[in-house]
């Protein structure tokens, strides 16, 4: 008797849990769809012609793109820091500070070219453009 009652209660709880999960997954799905739409509207319409044609080539191109963006930021930061050190004679502080800032700029470049952050202010004004 008690067994069956506990069974029933378990079942009831199980059902409730299931409906809760179903509702949650439905909400998650809706949220995902919404996010997908938002991302689609943010992202450039097509990621270059190669992206659709050959996944290997586009992955290779993408890897090259992102790594060169990061390296460029760091290198430019280090270069400017080194120049400032030479001009002002404050070695090594310029190099340290600008290397870190350059790293931040490189990360910003990468995130921008991956389309994860909105671009500079101008990127929100014109037609479709984002760094690629």
């Amino acid at each position: 008797m008690s067994d069956s009652m506990s069974d029933a209660r378990d079942n009831g709880e199980h059902d409730k849990q299931q409906t809760g999960e179903a509702a949650l997954s439905a909400r998650l799905q809706r949220l995902n769809e919404g996010l997908g739409h938002a991302r689609d509207s943010v992202r450039p319409p097509s990621d270059g012609t190669g992206a659709d044609r050959a996944t290997t080539a586009s992955g290779y191109a993408r890897g090259f793109r992102l790594s060169s963006e990061l390296v460029a930021g760091v290198v430019v930061g280090a270069g400017i820091g080194w120049l400032i050190d030479r001009w002002l004679g404050i070695s090594p502080w310029g190099l340290i500070v600008f290397l870190l800032l350059g790293f931040a700029a490189g990360v910003l470049n990468v995130m921008r070219s991956a389309g994860l952050v909105a671009g500079t202010a101008l990127d929100n004004t014109g037609p479709e453009h984002r760094e690629k």
Partner: protein, 250 residues
């Protein structure tokens, strides 16, 4: 037989010319191939558009397709105002595309595998962006470095980071094209070297050499795609940077 994969990038003096300000200015194989590229592009476009047929022939449709392609790229990333830079972008695109394509021909020289060439092109774009940006927008051009809605406390750091990000553009712009072409050509050469080395190792080696041979065929196809893709990427990045000069932040 030993194959040196770097040998193909050597600059050779073809015709010694003048020495200017302590620098030797020579006509090198790199310069020769630049002339060839410009000649081929000009001959193709002038020859193709000479008939001015309403219904384009084969050559004319190549010219029309390339025009349409670059024009669409410029319009979609720099807007209609960007079309005043169309001749510039089209020239850049055709030059880089033909440099990449002609470089794929065996025994030819790849101009875009030299960092100095791509850096010159990227710096040209950079200075046009800066010059036109200031000429058109005056000091409003500097709004480019001041994002909206940033707390005043961290604004100086953000501005410095934005400036660095802007200055790093010619670096990534040039290195991307250069590194792609360099890496692709070295890979091709290395695999081609395997064919020669295996081919010299008797009957079994000749059978073994078919594997790198298949690889080289596939890599050549990939390089053809990369040649086009990198020219396109170079052009579209130029458009995006020019767009910054036309519409800096409000």
């Amino acid at each position: 037989m030993q194959v040196d994969p770097i040998h193909q990038f050597q600059i050779k003096n073809l015709i010694p010319m003048v020495s200017m300000g302590g620098h030797q200015i020579d006509f090198t194989n790199s310069a020769l191939f630049m002339f060839i590229i410009v000649g081929v592009v000009s001959a193709l476009l002038i020859g193709a558009t000479a008939p001015r047929a309403v219904v384009p022939g084969r050559l004319q449709s190549i010219a029309e397709i390339s025009y349409e392609f670059v024009a669409n790229t410029v319009r979609s990333s720099a807007g209609n105002e960007g079309m005043r830079f169309f001749p510039f972008v089209f020239t850049l695109f055709m030059f880089v595309l033909f440099a990449n394509l002609i470089g794929l021909i065996p025994y030819s020289f790849t101009v875009t595998s030299q960092l100095i060439v791509t850096a010159t092109l990227a710096l040209l774009v950079f200075f046009i962006v800066v010059g036109y940006g200031f000429w058109r927008n005056g000091l409003h051009f500097l709004n480019l470095f001041v994002p909206k809605g940033v707390p005043k406390l961290i604004l100086p750091a953000i501005v410095v980071i934005e400036v660095l990000s802007f200055l790093s553009r010619p670096v990534s712009h040039s290195v991307r094209l250069f590194a792609n072409m360099l890496a692709g050509h070295i890979t091709l050469q290395v695999f081609a070297g395997f064919i020669i080395m295996l081919g010299g190792a008797g009957i079994l080696g000749i059978f073994g050499a078919t594997l790198p041979f298949i690889m080289v065929v596939m890599l050549t196809a990939l390089e053809l795609l990369v040649a086009f893709l990198q020219a396109y990427v170079f052009a579209i990045l130029t458009c995006i940077y020019l767009n910054d000069a036309i519409h800096p932040g409000h």
